[in-house]
Symmetry: C2
């Protein structure tokens, strides 16, 4: 495989074309696979992950050593590292997906017409999904399993830094497919780390990819926006806001903001900007900022914030549109709910925003006018997660408005068709 | 206005950019407009269409005369022509859309979580919709009204041949918007016939267009596929198939095929290819082809068809992928249901297909394996229509699988967001 890395662009294109047509063929078989078959593939893969733990850990060690040699950060190496427990968690994840309701073939609406036609709207797979992700090797299993459960073939393109780990996990997935009598090409891993492969996927592999799910940072997102010629479920940044209204329960506000920012700073649902109503700023800002600082969070504030909390660094215009993914919070004082909403409308990435308030009017305005995938009242933005929404698992949080929005679980990975039951009707 | 036609590309781009940002602003206002406001705009526009009938007919006459001078066909001129009755029908259409349920803000699912979070999934507008259409002036009203009802701002780009008619209708729509206190820019008509405007729309007007709905023939579709940088609800061709199984009630089959092909030949739900099971071909083909011919339909058949019906012309490979939109039918004899399905999978445009059969196994296989927006059993493909599906009105039939599929009515023109109701929850 490593030989492929040095192949020419034409070779990469040819390899990718083959992957595309194999995926399209596999998608046909998957569309009519039974729930039992798909679940067997998932549970057999879960078992196989445990059986092949040594091989997976060995492959992972290769990636870790290469990462160390490249001088990757400790946080990066942590995301990359697998151990016994993490492999068990991946296997448990496959079993959990097997246990979800099968979305394919489910009737989601029925229309009865006066002429006797009965029209069922039933879920169908989308077809072939291309997933482009970065260094977490577990995404290989999660994304592969979610696509399989929803009856889709998938082409996975993982980051080069986790290439060997992803391959080892992928082998277990293909073992499961084979055991269930499903085509191994239902879950394919791009067999090269050449970045040209991403470009080929974004072009759609001659119409064989139905949708791309990109999971990654700014540079991937920019590339997708520039080059994609197929539909995309964008998983953009999460510039999440918490607005504390003057009607807020301030004790609750403090707990929520601490959680929204500091529970885990590296996830897309972490708060990045705090907006505080002027009338409660005197009380809330000094105390909350000190509490955040005590947990290691740096504060960047506007002038009004800095007047109340001297340790705040000045926030620049850039801060308002930055996803820190780190222990940093930008803080701004606003005159009213309308100003808070206007700030969110301007700077939000459309992911998740929360209002902390007791006043219904403020909540209603925020809910009506903030157009993000998830809008919360008196809850932490860190609940923005497919599992927390009861979806079982997710392939990401979509920040676009087409097809999927918010957590993308198995249902969001389906389309639908209309099945019309007639008894000889002709149209007058 | 006619001066604009001769403006430079840069000027067109500048005009379109302005339309885009005005639409985005209008979309914000529309997202929180009340159902009553939107309905008032629609009914006031309907009244105004009747009031300004003379002006509309005068504008229409300009288009008709230009069309005649260009030597347009009678069918084309018929589609273009407005009269008293057709204007009344357009006005009635606006009133019918006003009477539909308002989709915006409707809760479509509720999730209750063990931690007390209540999560509502509610419909929201998509934002700004760009509609690119051809010569039927009534689309100005239909598309404008459907977008308004679903809370979306719309930029309409009609064909140059109906430009004056569309403008006159558009004035009535803007009259209605003004009367309801809504921004006139909620429904904008591109004020130029320069084709560069289409290119600008396909590029998305700096992120201000959320989705493009193209309605047109092959050349528009090809251009959209090549140039679109925003999501598209494709309204591609309707290469619709009817398959008559060996288990079919042959009398029913004859009635359905005659209706599916000949009721109206120019609509996208008209059948273009007939597949007949070998076991019933001897009886069905000669009789059905003669009945079709008696109604003016030309038959193009494979060798087996021509052996049974001598008047059939030979079908070429191209015939199987041609949307005639005319009184022509391609006919092929197949060995079994699997062969019929394989033919459909290969040549269908994903619009509508029908099976005529009494045998459940054949129907089940056809329903499961044919992946078109609409799949029918014992009914005419001409029922592929939003009105016939009980949706009230449609902006087209989507043949893609993302977001909207099949008839695109007001619900399909919406997205959704999650509203999370908490009582102070933080994530452990």
């Amino acid at each position: 495989m490593s030989a492929m890395v040095s192949q020419s662009k034409d070779d990469v294109a040819a390899v990718m074309q083959e992957l595309g047509s194999a995926a399209k063929q596999a998608a046909r078989a998957l569309a009519t696979a039974t729930p039992d078959q798909k679940n067997l593939a998932l549970t057999a893969a879960a078992d196989q992950l445990r059986v092949s733990k040594d091989a997976i850990l060995k492959a992972n060690k290769q990636d870790i050593e290469a990462g160390k040699a490249k001088g990757m950060t400790a946080a990066f190496l942590d995301r990359l590292t697998l151990d016994d427990e993490r492999i068990d968690a991946i296997a448990d994840g496959l079993r959990a997906i097997a246990e979800l309701d099968d979305p394919v073939g489910k009737t989601i609406a029925t229309i009865e017409r006066p002429n006797g036609l009965k029209i069922d709207r039933v879920r169908t797979p989308l077809g072939v999904i291309g997933v482009i992700f970065e260094s977490r090797p577990n995404v290989t299993a999660d994304a592969g399993a979610l696509c399989l459960k929803s009856g889709n073939a998938v082409i996975l393109r993982g980051g080069s830094d986790s290439y060997h780990s992803s391959r080892a996990i992928h082998e277990a997935l293909q073992f499961g497919l084979e055991k269930a009598g499903l085509p191994k090409t239902a879950i394919q891993l791009v067999p090269t780390t050449d970045r040209a492969a991403v470009g080929e996927m974004l072009k759609g592999l001659s119409g064989n990819i139905d949708v791309i799910v990109p999971r990654g940072g700014k540079s991937l997102v920019a590339r997708v926006q520039e080059e994609a010629r197929v539909p995309v479920f964008s998983h953009l940044e999460g510039i999440c806001h918490v607005y504390v209204d003057k009607s807020a329960d301030l004790e609750m506000a403090e707990q929520i903001v601490l959680n929204a920012k500091m529970r885990r700073t590296g996830i897309c649902g972490a708060a990045e900007t705090l907006l505080v109503h002027r009338d409660v700023a005197d009380v809330l800002v000094p105390q909350l900022c000190a509490a955040l600082a005590a947990k290691g969070c740096a504060i960047r504030g506007d002038d009004a914030v800095r007047a109340l909390y001297a340790d705040a660094a000045p926030a620049s215009e850039e801060d308002w549109s930055t996803e820190y993914l780190d222990a940093i919070l930008s803080v701004k004082i606003v005159g009213d709910t309308a100003e808070a909403i206007a700030h969110v409308q301007r700077y939000s990435s459309g992911h998740t925003e929360a209002i902390i308030a007791e006043d219904d009017q403020s909540v209603d305005a925020f809910f009506a006018q903030v157009d993000s995938a998830i809008v919360m009242h008196n809850a932490s933005t860190q609940f923005a997660d497919g599992g927390e929404f009861g979806m079982g698992a997710e392939i990401g949080i979509a920040t676009g408005k087409m097809h999927a929005r918010g957590p993308v679980g198995v249902e969001q990975l389906t389309s639908f068709k209309y099945l019309v039951h007639g008894t000889g009707q002709t149209r007058p």
